[in-house]
Amino acid sequence: MTEPASSGNSGIQQSCDEQASDERADGKQLGRRRALTILGAGGLLVSGSAGRTVSAATNASGPRSWREAGGGFSNYGTPSDDSRIIRWISAEPSSPGTGASWTPLHELEGSITPNGLHFERHHGGVPAIDADRWELRVDGAVRQVVHLDLDSLRQRPMHARFAFIECGGNSSSLWREQAVQAPAGWLHGLVSSGEWAGVPLFDLLEEAGLGSDAGWLIATGLDAAGVTVSLALDTLPADTMIALYRNGEPLRVEHGWPARLLVPGHEGICNVKWLGRLTVADRPAMSRFDTVSYTDLGRDGIATRFSRVMGVKSVITLPAVGDQLAVGLVAITGLAWSGAGRISRVEISVDGGNTWDDASLDGEPLDRTFIRFRFSWNRSRATPVMMQSRAHDDAGRVQPTRAALLGTHGPNHHYHYNAVLTLGIEADGRVVNVHA
């Protein structure tokens, strides 16, 4: 009982891995995902059916890993060969900590973004925080200034929920006329989703005691960019939290450790990382991050401030740009989310938006969280088509067409691009991004 059947299981697992690694050399020709498909199938074919000679007389047959003692434990675990699934980093050369890294949406499955692949957007690099000396301070128009160190925060009642975070500038290249040829993650990967745990913000504000003219909460990060964001208190979701954990483990250094603000459904900049101070005030600070950036320029030259809630959106992650589809069944999949609630429906069109069919959803959608959708399309003929997905949320919002979005906002909005996205499938099966 002290040793559940782990050794036997790991032997089988290793043999599967070895089989897969033999096949993978061929799989590379086909693209990584197909290699993984073969990996899955290969696991069922271990017992010599893949062209190997099986000899009953010696132990020379069988998976090589059966004849080698397995490796040891590791304290934290090791990514598989697929650790080559990595983020793409677009940093400013003169300021290497400033820029963004993009979640490889087109290389991941399920609806949870691993901690190591969550997108990052830093304005002044990743600060070195001494957690032993770190404290969160709540001040301003409050009855009493509250300051809490990490231990005392961790001892308070917590709450966990799933939530996506999306940068306000995600998909911003789509505002431009030229369609960029890159797979989903490199265009739309400034969004990630997972489970966050922390202390409810309004519990802390209750302890501090809001003044009668308290209208705004101004969050200040401890990073070198002096990120400061003003949030209208009456627009903050009740489940806004001081997040301390993501996907079960303490926040990673890059994600704001030891604590960040989590405002589910609000654009990324509101989720201030390396949180140091929360100031209650009767007015916004109108910091650089409230005015110069994260404001949406309209066609009239007027910019809109405090447009915080992210739209309803879906992205097809597979097929991806660079794939070449055969004739036959094509497995379409992707992710949908909404800053205002739950995804209620995702539709797929393979005729440029003339007709739509419902995609299936992987379980019950959660509020302001990724849901994965799937659709099997029979590509019966080698003719060009335009493939799209369109999401609806339970707040009644529908993902707009590109024409509608650009018509409303003009081409310089820069932020909050959530229009229906279009993949062009060419006659030869090649997948490209197009504007439609």
Binding site: E92, P93, S94, S95, T98, G124, D130, R133, W134, E135, R137, D139, G140, A141, V142, R143, V145, F202, L205, E206, G209, L210, G211, S212, D213, A214, T220, A224, A225, G226, T228, L233, D234, T235, L236, A238, G276, R277, T279, A281, R283, P284, A285, M286, S287, R288, T291, V292, L297, R299, G301, I302, A303, T304, R305, F306, S307, R308, P411, N412
Partner: protein, 168 residues
């Protein structure tokens, strides 16, 4: 939500934040309890001190020009001078006169974030002088205009009316 909650708790007492003085923030001790006052658009929180563009010209050349260009025309970093008329064009300019609606946050950002390889290193007076220089590049001050908390609080930026709010 918060207002009803505040009312329910009967909280009407307004206590300003315990002010952390500037000398304390200069202490190498990075205790996060020590923060300079938060700077608001109306200039509250700006520290005592002053500068002018004449003093700021040399500072700008050594601290800012390599990324923002000798005269704020931009380079590796955004331009600091632009044309507001381009805001309705396909490629809108950026720049302080174009995109900053208030002057005090400009002091706050330059002081805390610039230059990126040595943030929060400029003295208060040097920051005021660099602010003065970039305002001069935008034809908003003269070389000898004294730029301080009172001046920045009263300066109406050219694009002050270039914003609307999604919420009030």
């Amino acid at each position: 939500m918060h207002l009803s909650f505040a009312a329910a708790c009967g909280l009407t007492l307004l206590v300003p934040m315990a002010s952390a003085d500037e000398s304390a923030s200069a202490n190498a001790d990075m205790s996060p309890l020590i923060f300079p006052p938060l700077i608001f658009a109306d200039g509250s929180g700006l520290p005592p001190g002053s500068g002018n563009a004449r003093e700021g010209t040399g500072l700008y050349q050594t601290q800012c020009a390599r990324c923002h260009g000798r005269n704020g025309e931009g380079g590796r970093a955004l331009e600091l001078v632009g044309d507001r008329e381009t805001l309705i064009s396909a490629w809108p300019d950026r720049g302080i006169g174009v995109s900053w609606p208030y002057a005090p946050p400009l002091f706050d950002y330059i002081r805390r974030a610039m230059p990126p390889d040595s943030p929060y290193s400029l003295s208060v007076d040097d920051t005021y002088s660099i602010v003065a220089r970039v305002l001069e590049l935008n034809a908003l001050v003269d070389a000898d205009t004294t730029v301080d908390a009172a001046f920045l609080s009263s300066l109406v930026m050219p694009n002050n009316n270039g914003f609307k709010q999604a919420i009030e």
